[in-house]
């Protein structure tokens, strides 16, 4: 079959149509990225007047800095917890909706709303609820005998950002899981029921394996989200504190670069993150190409 093509009589027009998008990409993505790579090889003096080219000095310092490895550890805990919590909760919700309401779209629509909330607003929302003095959640926790204070206690702070970040991501995961569940043919589940498998067994031996492409896709997306897309939430709730307890890699780029004015180290950190993103994306693309595995 021949592909349908549009022929432009004017040779310049197609380029004109591409210019706005290309300009945005170049100015806001490519150029800053290149600047970051350049800065990561430079060291500025204390006054910021002069920069010297220092090769990999920034990277070398980074990889012997115990603070950096502390942040890597915090990020790992944070990303793993957010991914596990939001994916498992959204899978439970999706299964519940799929079971009860095969046709009703109302619940689906309602459950999608949190995704539309801006990260900073999500952060403030949870910050209010868990505020040690005025928050309803910390009030209830205190009534239950838990002395909640995320301003003082690093663990409390970590739990708070994990809850806030997971809550926002549940909607996204939920949508994909619902779509995945809907594409599992009903007759397979019926065949398994006749084959003597109870509801729990049917889920683990038939439905869950058939969801594995969706699950893997979401695993990558959620790791990406937790590691790189949670700046707003952390900034609005804990600002990396207390005592670096929630200072994830992305937030550390900001604190070191913009607050600490250590542009060289901050740039080196963002280049490292860039490489991680590229690696994750490569895995994702490789997998998406061979999506149907069974």
């Amino acid at each position: 079959m021949q592909a349908k093509r549009t022929i432009f009589p004017n040779k310049i027009l197609p380029y004109m149509l591409l210019v706005p998008q290309l300009a945005v990409t170049l100015i806001f993505f490519i150029w800053p990225a290149l600047q970051a790579v350049k800065s990561s090889f430079e060291l500025a003096d204390s006054w910021g007047f002069q920069t010297t080219f220092v090769w990999f000095e920034n990277y070398r310092r980074l990889f012997v800095d115990p603070n950096y490895f502390a942040s890597v550890g915090k990020t790992a805990i944070f990303a793993f917890s957010v991914t596990a919590l939001s994916m498992s909760l959204s899978l439970i919700l999706a299964v519940a909706v799929n079971r009860v309401l095969r046709t009703n779209r109302l619940y689906t629509t309602l459950l999608v709303w949190p995704y539309a909330v801006a990260p900073v607003v999500v952060g403030i929302l949870w910050w209010f609820m868990f505020n040690p003095t005025i928050g309803i959640a910390s009030y209830l926790l205190r009534a239950a005998g838990v002395d909640w204070n995320h301003r003082m206690d690093g663990n409390d702070a970590m739990i708070l950002v994990i809850i806030a970040a997971s809550w926002k991501q549940i909607s996204y995961n939920f949508l994909f899981f619902v779509a995945g569940l809907q594409s599992v043919p009903q007759s397979l589940i019926e065949a398994a029921a006749i084959d003597g498998a109870g509801p729990f067994k049917r889920f683990w031996t038939i439905v869950f394996p058939l969801l594995s492409p969706t699950t893997f896709f979401l695993l990558i997306v959620n790791m990406n989200y937790a590691m790189f897309d949670t700046f707003g939430i952390i900034d609005a709730t804990t600002q990396g504190g207390p005592a670096q307890a929630t200072n994830t890699l992305v937030y550390k780029v900001y604190t070191d670069g913009f607050l600490g004015q250590n542009i060289g180290s901050s740039s080196a950190q963002s280049v490292v993150l860039m490489i991680v993103v590229i690696a994750l994306t490569a895995i994702q693309f490789r997998y998406v190409e061979r999506r149907v595995q069974y």
Partner: protein, 346 residues
């Protein structure tokens, strides 16, 4: 091995739509019963109620003398072959066959023995370690059958199992299903909308329409003596010609039962040469001569009424399109009906 008894069964959906009206049917042990009817007649719903995949609104279904209304599909000890086969795509053929046995805690050596046996019967041994997507339609069909027979259930339920196959394969599989069912002598319920499949497979044929049973009987008995107009039109291809009784009044010495207003004539009982014994004589103009191979179909318009009728005549019958044909039908081959009740009058 078991009998299935359906008594006073009704299916009413949440919206108030009644899919099955007060249905009774007894299937003795070892019989192959075919439910046939147009789409939406309730045949699949009935099968799914026997399987336990649909709730029974009223009445009871018993398998082997035990009422199963409240039992889960797994507890009914039946096996079902689905239209789309419903093979587990992430398991090998062997995995598919073993799944039901493993769930029931069958010992390992017993599982192996039964899987080997089923694979041998269905000739799927070479594919045991493949995934369903690596198989052709016919092979998948065999695996679906295999999954049913390894379980050695009380009954087989078939939900249009051949409708996804091409015509040639469908014919082969039909014969295999029949042979398999004969050998295993397992009570079977088979749903189809294909009347050829229904006629050839059934020990007993159940014709359904709009949630009710129209007629139950041996396939050939239904063909030779349809009880209702619906069965007359549904069984047989090309379908029975239905002619107004008034048109036939002066065409021969008719003695029809009281209340007859419509007369059915099977296309293959229309003869060009006059038969012995009492018969009616019709004349018609041949519009189309359709050679099928073993026989030919004549599409004709009756003189006087202009009604279209079809006759099945031996191949190479010398007829030209546009010419007049004289048709003969033995009185014994007429099927008298009443249009209002839809029932046979003799």
């Amino acid at each position: 091995m078991a009998s299935i008894d359906i008594s006073g069964v009704k299916k009413v959906y949440a919206g108030g739509v009644t899919a099955i009206h007060d249905l009774d049917l007894a299937i003795p042990d070892g019989e192959l019963v075919v439910l046939v009817g147009p789409s939406g007649c309730g045949k699949s719903t009935l099968l799914r109620m026997i399987a336990g995949l649909e709730a029974i609104s009223e009445g009871t279904i018993s398998i082997d003398g035990i009422v199963v209304n409240a039992k889960e599909p797994a507890e009914r000890d039946i096996a079902m072959v689905f239209q789309n086969y419903a093979l587990y795509p992430h398991m090998t053929v062997r995995g598919n066959l073993e799944y039901g046995l493993k769930n029931r805690g069958t010992p390992r050596d017993e599982i192996d023995r039964r899987v080997t046996e089923a694979a041998r019967i269905l000739e799927i041994e070479p594919f045991l370690d493949r995934r369903p997507r690596q198989l052709s339609g016919g092979q998948r069909q065999r695996v679906a059958m295999g999954r049913a027979i390894v379980r050695q259930p009380k009954a087989f339920l078939f939900d249009e199992p051949l409708s996804n196959l091409d015509a040639k394969l469908r014919g082969q599989m039909r014969i295999e299903i029949k042979r398999l069912q004969r050998n295993l002598a397992t009570t079977s319920v088979y749903v189809t909308h294909d009347q050829l499949e229904a006629m050839t497979l059934a020990d007993r044929l159940v014709v359904m329409n709009a949630g009710r049973i129209e007629q139950v009987g041996a396939p050939i008995a239904l063909y030779e003596r349809p009880a209702t107009l619906f069965v007359a039109g549904f069984i047989g291809s090309p379908p029975m010609n239905l002619i107004d009784v008034d048109y036939l009044r002066d065409k021969g010495a008719l003695t029809l039962p009281e209340g007859t207003d419509l007369v059915g004539i099977r296309p293959d009982t229309i003869q060009l040469a006059a038969p012995e014994g009492p018969h009616v004589v019709l004349s018609a103009i041949v519009e189309l001569y359709e050679p099928i191979g073993g026989e030919s179909h004549l599409h004709m318009r009756l003189e006087g009424s202009g009604q279209l009728i079809v006759a099945a005549v031996p191949a190479r019958t010398a007829v030209t399109e546009g010419a007049r044909a004289t048709l003969h039908v033995s009185i014994a081959d007429l099927h008298p009906f009443n249009q209002k009740t839809g029932r046979r009058t003799d």
